[in-house]
């Protein structure tokens, strides 16, 4: 044991290899490998009747996606939903997290964190269905606000509801780390609260907000269940993927559609990575 320890001490690279081999085997070989195969299969086709995959290179799937207007519309709609959900979550989460981290007494902070975490355990489906009731004709929302009923706005609202805790948590963690002295320095230099918020808090919080947005954005981008429950006749990109794989068994076409959110997310991750967001998750 000690001899091994001593040997490893002299060979840090071996220690590194030991640490990395299993995770990389899992994430690179298994996960990325599976993804790669999936993306490759986007170039295959399927026998329309028997559903057998035909392993023959073809750009047909992509041609359909690029030429049929509906795919562009759905992609843009999904992007819009993901962006809107993210914006709503930021707008709601930042003041809440700020209250939790900087205003609430240390004792109640405890309970507030619990209050934010607890809903994560209530089933996603059940919550979506609860919203279906809230949004129904003559239901509570309809009675109180006269809408919005089922449809795109409802989808955005409910998705924002679903992922809000995922935004609050990293923002809260970021704010907790933000030294009070920075806020005091800002006030000391003449800035009112609003100014301090815009010029000091928000910029420093950006990585945390991006971290939260990875959740709100990606979970919204891929969702197909909430939209079925409260989306009225709306369809999003997740529905198309699901319709083609879960339902129509057209893996190649589903894979081709799936490249769209994958591409969007990879670009998004690369963009926010520069802010340090990936460290704030």
């Amino acid at each position: 044991m000690a001899r091994l320890g001593s040997y490893l001490h002299r060979h840090p690279r071996l220690r590194l290899a030991g640490l990395l081999s299993a995770p990389l085997l899992w994430l690179v070989v298994a996960y990325l490998g599976a993804l790669a195969v999936l993306l490759v299969s986007a170039f295959w086709t399927v026998n329309g009747f028997t559903g057998e995959v035909v392993r023959q290179f073809s750009l047909g799937n992509f041609r359909t996606i690029l030429t049929e207007e509906v795919y562009r519309n759905v992609a843009l709609r999904s992007l819009g939903v993901a962006a809107a959900v993210t914006v709503i979550c930021v707008v709601v989460a930042v003041p809440m997290a700020f209250f939790m981290a900087k205003v609430a007494a240390a004792r109640s902070r405890h309970w507030l964190v619990i209050a934010i975490l607890t809903p994560l355990w209530a089933s996603y489906l059940v919550k979506a269905y609860a919203w279906r009731i809230l949004l129904a004709n003559n239901g509570p929302m309809d009675t109180l606000f006269g809408g919005p009923g089922y449809g795109l706005p409802a989808t955005i609202l409910v998705l924002a509801y679903m992922w809000l805790p995922y935004m609050i948590l990293p923002v809260y963690a970021g704010l907790e780390r933000l030294p009070d002295s920075l806020l005091e320095a800002s006030a000391d230099l003449g800035a009112r609260a609003g100014r301090t918020f815009r010029s000091v808090i928000l910029p420093i919080l950006i990585p945390s907000v991006f971290a939260g947005s990875i959740f709100t954005f990606s979970l919204s981008l891929g969702d197909y269940i909430t939209v079925q429950i409260v989306g009225g006749k709306t369809q999003l990109i997740g529905n198309l993927v699901y319709a083609n794989i879960g339902a129509a068994n057209n893996l190649p076409f589903a894979a081709a559609i799936a490249t769209v959110p994958v591409l969007i997310m990879v670009i998004y991750l690369l963009a926010v990575r520069r802010s340090g967001a990936l460290e704030e998750l």
Binding site: L8, L20, G33, V262, M265
Partner: protein, 271 residues
Amino acid sequence: MTLSAPARWALRAVMALGLTFIYVPLLLVLINSFNGDRTFAWPPHDLTTRWWSAAWANDGARQALLTSVQAGLGATAIALVLGTMIAFAVQRFRFFGRDTISLLVVLPIALPGIVTGIALDSAWRSVMGDLGISKGMFSIIVGHATFCVVTVYNNVLARLRRTGTNLEEASADLGASGFQTFRYVTFPLIRSALLAGGLLAFALSFDEIIVTTFTAGPGVTTLPIWIFNNLFRPNQAPVVNVVAAVLIVLSVIPVWLAQRIAGPQAGAGRT
């Protein structure tokens, strides 16, 4: 921070509204578990406890809960091991590609669940299927663990950054072998981070439906799948509300425990 009284009040109001927003639907779930109506007509015209007794008698729900707990524990265990290993590698070593590790680790959670789901599903079928290993609990655990690694990784990484290597060096300096150092020093120090990451990993797995849909084999029904099946069939939706209400109440326990054990940081964790 020095805030004017109105600003404080405004923030307090936003917090209250936010909590209302979060809790009204949950309250509705609770009320509807007593709603005499099968598809929750609003407002409820009669109240009943019959869904609660139906739920109590529902073996399927109990079985599914057990399955979900098993899957969650399995996925969490794997995520704890893998996430910790990567966090150590990234924090303690410099190596080529180190900067892309964080990207690799978030990818499974950042890509839509359906993509992860179908990728793993088709890979499983073509590789494991050929080996004669069919999908079941194990494939669910594999799928969940893949996207749970990130929560452990992030929590442990943050903790390692904060604690540095000093204490481990002190331990080695005092004569402890690598294993002893891990057991007596490193592990106790990252324990609360593991708890926070593990809790979140478990929660993610526990509520995952999309990836599960594609990775579950026949005969394995997790709670979300059970809920999905039952929500969409007659007479059963109210029972689902009972189960959900019970879950909400029960969930306070692990969250509270984690907070007790590991301090306020833990529960918050890093998603």
